[in-house]
Amino acid sequence: MVSPHISTQAQASSIEFSLPDASTAAWNAIDGALEFCAANMKLKERDAALALLRCGGDEIRGYFEYGLARQLAEYLAALDTEVRAAYVYDTEATPEDLAFGQVAPTLVHVIILAQRKTSALNSLIVAVDRALTQRYADLMGKPGQAHLLDVQVVSEAEVNSRSGFGAMLTWLHHRPLMVWKR
């Protein structure tokens, strides 16, 4: 399938950029995440990963989350130079409790570290989240049952002052894992 693209003419430098729109980015992100699952779980192909994901299971869900967060960060970073790094984290009260699995799939919790927070970045995240939801629901064959993103954007100032979710990057028990950095 040919991906639709937004072409932007940067007149000053006469360089043409070609960046995917949110819908195409969602396709690419989920494809990329499935390939990441297949590679790490030694599955023959992306479709095998998708079949396993449909069946459920903590291992494939973990890899899917890492892969999806990484793809999301790469997309956001390509469009917004403020984006510095991406982390995944979990919200369960204790790490031991997290280990015992959850009844139902929950959100992929992502922290995006940006040099500063902007409404442009927030809008971009909303758009790609919506597109991911749709694409994931279609793939899983369960409209309304999609597994989506919870994205918290934190600024470098918040990390330095350890305020809000910025403080989380130095926490002891809910320590996020970096999945991408510029």
Binding site: A39, N40, M41, K42, D58, E59, Y66, R70, V88, T91, E92, A93, T94, P95, E96, D97, L98, A99, F100, G101, Q102, A104, P105, T106, L107, H109, T133, A137, G144, Q145, A146, H147, L148, D150, A167, M168, W171, L172, H173, H174, R175, L177, M178, V179
Partner: protein, 439 residues
């Protein structure tokens, strides 16, 4: 075919070898609180000196053949802080930022936690500096097995029993148990807890922490002379711990007036309909409280929830939710810490001044480690109890532990957090004293 060693790329990823931060390490913080408690308890200087050092610190370099044929060396740790009260117990975490001082601090915290709830364990912790997001299942399995083999001299069902922690899970515990069994030539499933149910795991583990939170909450209210039927509860965090605590407290007769998750919270001063709320969460694409709407329910933020005038607040989500900047506005009279470290030191002082009673995490969320203990007991006896029996045992241990901490705190005029730590150190010191110094 495997390449000769000289041709493989040996990576000790420089990003893992980070310089120590300028701020005090976790170990420094743990020592500072131990020193404070030692003064208050008039602890024997010799015993104080013993508790200021971990009994054993093992650092290992774990070589792992990666899927691409390269060799990578990971740094791993196992620290046993104290075995005075029994075999050491504590989780193993996989994270790029794990370091020795963190593992030492966490090991000491496990010593205090096991002592507070009176289970016959000392404290330990382990970790491997690795990035699990970058590793395949096969690589994780090989790393876990080699790490297990390298720390095996100090592990054992009567020596040191690991458990899951950050980024480790029942599958990793199963690999550890299998590796130990293969090396020992006989089944040794009791060498770890947190195993899958069909491999010697215990019934009741999933709900254990939330159940423990509910038990200490009800016991505290009983001690305070409050009728559970008149109690309102707000729960921040609706994951495994928060949802189970809310459900069990509701079954006990409490009114759950507010809960929250990452999407925000819901509030009904007359009590939430938990069944309707769970159905709403289950039917929502994001599986969050966004999916629950009712004319009787008001949408609130996570910050709002902390300020609600409920009798009990259960922070069961993330760390550092109750801080110096919001402690004055906390609406509850009692706080039961379902999460690890939800209250900062600064907030703790403010809450104490305001007369808010805080049941500390070391006691409130110990239900998980108690059921780990029960798993180990069942493995050792090769006989497994029903969930009802597990819950009965958990109830007994948590009630007794709460009473011990409450009475000790009252007797010493200390807030419960300090009282719990004092009691824990006192119990460990007593064990050291009773055993004497060998030879």
């Amino acid at each position: 075919m495997q390449k000769p060693l000289t041709e493989t790329l040996i990576k000790t990823d420089a990003t893992y070898l980070v310089a120590p931060a300028a701020k005090p390490s976790l170990w420094d913080t743990v020592l500072a609180s131990l020193d404070d408690v030692a003064v208050q308890l008039k602890l024997d200087p010799g015993i104080h000196a013993i508790l200021r050092e971990p009994e054993r610190e093992l650092t290992v370099a774990v070589p792992v053949l990666m899927d691409d044929g390269t060799l990578k060396v990971f740094r791993g740790y196992r620290v046993q802080h104290s075995s005075a009260r029994g075999p050491c117990k504590g989780g193993i975490r996989y994270h790029p930022d794990v370091d020795l001082n963190e593992v030492k601090g966490l090991a000491a915290m496990m010593t205090w936690k096991c002592a507070v709830v009176g289970i016959p364990y000392g404290g330990a912790k382990g970790g491997v500096q690795c990035d699990p997001t970058e590793m395949s299942q096969n690589e994780l399995a090989r790393m876990t097995r080699r790490f297990t083999a390298m720390i095996m001299p100090i592990l054992g069902p009567k020596r040191d029993i690991p458990a899951p922690d950050v980024n480790t899970n029942p599958q990793i515990m199963a690999w550890i148990a299998d590796t130990a069994s293969m090396l020992g030539g006989s089944a040794m499933l009791e060498i770890v807890t947190g195993k899958p149910l069909n491999l010697g795991g215990s019934q009741g583990r999933k709900e254990a922490t939330g159940r423990g939170v509910a038990i200490v909450t009800s016991e505290m209210l009983r001690r305070a002379g409050r009728d559970l039927a008149e109690i309102t509860v707000a729960v921040q965090g609706y994951g495994n711990v928060g949802s189970n605590a809310a459900r069990i407290l509701a079954d006990m007769g409490c009114k759950i007036v507010a809960v929250s998750d990452v999407s925000g919270g819901v509030f009904n001063p007359h009590g939430l309909d938990l069944d309707a709320m769970d159905r709403g969460v289950a039917s929502h694409p994001k599986r969050t409280l966004d999916g629950y709407a009712s004319p009787d329910v008001e949408r609130i933020s996570n910050e709002d929830l902390l300020e609600i005038k409920a009798d009990v607040l259960i922070p069961a989500a993330l760390e550092h939710q109750i801080r110096g900047d919001n402690a004055e506005r906390i609406g509850a009279r009692y706080i039961v810490e379902g999460a690890n470290g939800p209250t900062t030191r600064e907030a703790d002082e403010i809450l104490n001044e305001r007369g808010v009673i805080v049941v500390p995490d070391i006691l409130a969320n110990a239900g998980g480690v108690v059921v780990s203990y029960l798993e180990w007991v069942q493995d050792l006896q090769n006989f497994f109890w029903s969930e009802e029996e597990i819950n009965r045992q958990l109830q007994g241990i948590m009630v007794r532990s709460f009473r011990d901490v409450w009475d000790f705190s009252q007797a010493h005029g200390a807030p419960m957090r300090l009282g719990a730590l004092m009691l824990a150190v006192d119990k460990v010191a007593e064990a050291v004293q009773a055993r004497g110094i060998w030879p």
